[in-house]
Amino acid sequence: MTTPRTAPQPGARKQIHLAAHFPGVNNTTVWADAPPAGAGPDAARHPALGSQIAFSSFTHLARTAERGLFDFFFLAEGLRLREHKGRIHDLDVVGRPESLTVLSALAAVTDRLGLAATVNATFNEPYELARRLASLDHLSEGRAAWNVVTSSDAFTGENFRRGGYLDRADRYTRAAEFVATARELWDSQAADGHPGPFDHAGTHFDIRGEFTLPRSPQGHPVVIQAGDSSEGREFAASTADVIFTRHSGLEAGQSFYADVKARLAAYGRKPDDLKIMPGVTFVLGDTAAEAQQQAAEIRRQQVSPQNALLALEQIWGVDLSAYDPEGPLPDIDPVPESELAQGRVKIADPKAVADRWRALSQAKGLSIRETVIETTGRQSFIGTPEAVAEEMDTFVQSEAADGFILVPHLTPGGLDPFVDRVVPLLQERGVFRTEYTGTTLRSHLGLPDPARPVGKGDRS
């Protein structure tokens, strides 16, 4: 290895936190590699491309993340398969296991890696979920995390007892009360296992009894909040340990970072008590040009002709199957309030997006597919390992992030190149650990142990 180039004194620099996101159920995850010329159908599969559901894939990615000394491994969640034009969406990777069960199993094949599950606060109940999270924290000896998400859609509700609609405003109040209640439960037993009763009478939950687990190794599993809205930021500032946010440019990142960190004081919290970790993608190459070329190729794979039309239909809100993906964009206007796509985030102003896309298409002479490729988010970090390490470091040192949640585009081998090629460079720069110094996820993240309420756990 060469000597570090620009890194100042090791130890003086802010440390980067890294997490690995299992590739998602969306078109970011590439499932069909471009076939080599003349190859048979079976020869086309990329060696890093495997099952999205086999446990061996989860083991591979988690062990890769642990080999790279990552803070945690992250699983997303979906409780209803997405639909398009009234039918199940069939173009993207789909089908995944239940998060907490997979993470309990991964605790057996990893030793230090944090294990984060996305679990919906709308379609679960505090007692059961608090118990499952505390169980994971015990079984993993202090590595559990919960990414709190909420949902309000009647579409997902059709799979659950409580059914559909929850007012948007109620989503966050329910989530906030849910997290507070879970913490009451986690705190309710003394460390020596002596049960203490809990009694919670709130707006959303009216429950009482005894929690059946001693306080877990982390006290409270780490709480992650995903979301960029003002409500989401406030919720994160009040209660979360990590915020999983959208990645944007350096200045936008700095502005988000400053905004969120400034909200903490109102809750008696210090800036370091909440880590800001954008979700990012990456493409590595031996040269900058090779990386750019590879990135463009991946975007082509992510936007198949069928996916391009689907992306268009999500904006236009009508059936566009008669259009040629290699032809021009439709000149009709989008239908507002369309129910064409279900289980996805709604597009706020489809007409504005359509106008922008048409302008782009005309200015550059792009087909439908080319336009979608052009407007599909470019990968967050593209370049040589050296350039990517430097750029990530810059984001962290200049307070645009505390670290990153990496989203590989291949299952399960997509993280290996980053761990093999970028992590050593971050270590050389003195901004990433060279060994785990603690055993719990809280220790990896440098988070304080949660205070125990007075009167709990000090039975003597």
Binding site: W31, A32, I53, A54, F55, F58, L79, R80, L81, R87, I88, D90, L91, D92, V93, V94, G95, R96, P97, E98, L100, T101, V102, S104, A105, A108, V109, N124, Y127, E128, R131, R132, A134, S135, H138, L139, E141, E158, N159, F160, R161, G163, A191, D192, G193, F205, D206, I207, R208, G209, E210, T212, L213, P214, R215, P217, S304, P305, Q306, N307
Partner: protein, 353 residues
């Protein structure tokens, strides 16, 4: 009375004192439910080529979530079946289905679940969603949950994932199915978010003893209609055999092949010495010869003490008598139990139409 299965099936309960509840707290004053205790026990059971281990659960039971524990055990074992209790009264049927399905994925085909209910006001108060209901009522609901869970497992046909580059389709959506289940207390639209698990349907276990709480008939019906394995707690072989006959008759009435319902006599055991274990082997042999059961579910008073004696002493005796196999015949729990991988109901319906 039809002859019981041969060789007999053997399962063991891992319930019992966890060291965290017995030993003094650690240096930081904390008691930890570490996984090693359960891994150790499951490996002993696996060494004895037992069919499966069970771990009971309720929301009032001290200790970690049973399904999470056995998910943690799965990668640390290779063949033993893993059957946690999952309750159906205050839980979401959709989540019950996906967690059990996921246990089957992480264990590569070794999952089952023992369906149970919550009947107390104390458990109801932990959720605050519905008051406690009569046992017969919540058992009928448990049957509906078992039904919808199995439908959700079938809601993906085995070959639904096609990865067809030419058409850009990852799945063939004609092979994914809405279950549109309407139960007495809930509805589920489907399909599952989890592809059909390795066993097609993880094994459903029901304790069909039927307590004297007005639910005996409901419990038997749930077992006869939905269970792959029924447990019967009995003091003597006649009682167990009568329960087996009753369950088989009921299964037949539901249009099932009674041989697809494995009835295990569930017995408490306490072993202190090799002599006790040899005595247990005799008792098992006698009950089996009397046609009392297709096998046994043993509930050691203290698994950490009793399980080693059971496997080292009783198992070899049973093997010598040709009552117990010497090696696992396959990789999945269904294979251990001699139960076929079920055909997918939706695939059958689609192919018939």
């Amino acid at each position: 009375m039809s002859a019981p299965r041969h060789p007999l099936h053997l399962a063991v309960a891992l319930d019992g004192p966890h060291p965290a509840g017995q030993e003094p707290p650690g240096p930081d004053g904390a008691r930890r439910y570490d996984a090693d205790h359960y891994v150790r026990l499951a490996r002993i059971a696996e060494h004895g080529t037992l069919d499966f281990v069970t771990l009971g659960d309720s929301f009032a039971r001290p200790g970690p979530d049973a399904l999470a524990v056995l998910a943690r055990v799965a990668p640390a074992t290779a063949r033993i079946g893993l059957v946690p209790t999952v309750t159906t009264t205050h839980t979401e049927p959709f989540h019950v289905s996906t967690t059990v399905s996921t246990l089957d994925w992480v264990s590569v085909g070794r999952a089952g679940w023992q369906a149970d209910v919550s009947t107390t006001e104390a458990e109801a108060a932990l959720f605050g969603r519905r008051p406690a209901a009569p046992p017969a009522e919540v058992w009928r609901e448990a049957g509906e949950v078992a039904d919808v869970a199995a439908r959700l497992w079938d809601s993906w046909e085995d070959d639904a994932e096609i990865r067809d580059r030419a058409s850009g389709r990852f799945i063939d959506r004609d092979k994914l199915h809405y279950v549109d289940f309407t139960g007495t207390t809930f509805t589920v639209r489907g399909p599952s978010i989890v592809p059909r698990p390795p066993q097609g349907r993880p094994v459903i276990v029901v304790d069909a003893t039927g307590a004297d709480d007005g639910a005996a008939d409901a419990v038997r019906e749930v077992a006869a209609a939905h269970a792959d394995v029924a447990l019967v707690r009995a003091e003597d072989p006649q009682t167990a055999g009568a329960a087996r006959d009753d369950l088989r008759a009921r299964a037949r009435a539901h249009g099932r092949d009674p041989d697809r319902l494995v009835v295990l006599a569930s017995l408490p055991v306490e072993l202190y010495a090799p002599g006790d274990a040899a005595g247990l082997a005799d008792l098992i042999g006698d009950w089996h010869a009397d046609g009392a059961a297709d096998g046994f579910h043993l509930r050691p008073a203290d698994p950490a003490r009793d399980l080693g004696l059971l496997v080292d002493t009783a198992v070899p005796v049973l093997r010598e008598r040709g009552l117990l196999r010497r090696a696992y015949p396959g990789a999945t729990l269904r294979e251990h139990l001699g139960l076929p991988r079920p055909a997918n109901r939706y695939a059958l319906a689609r192919e018939a139409s």
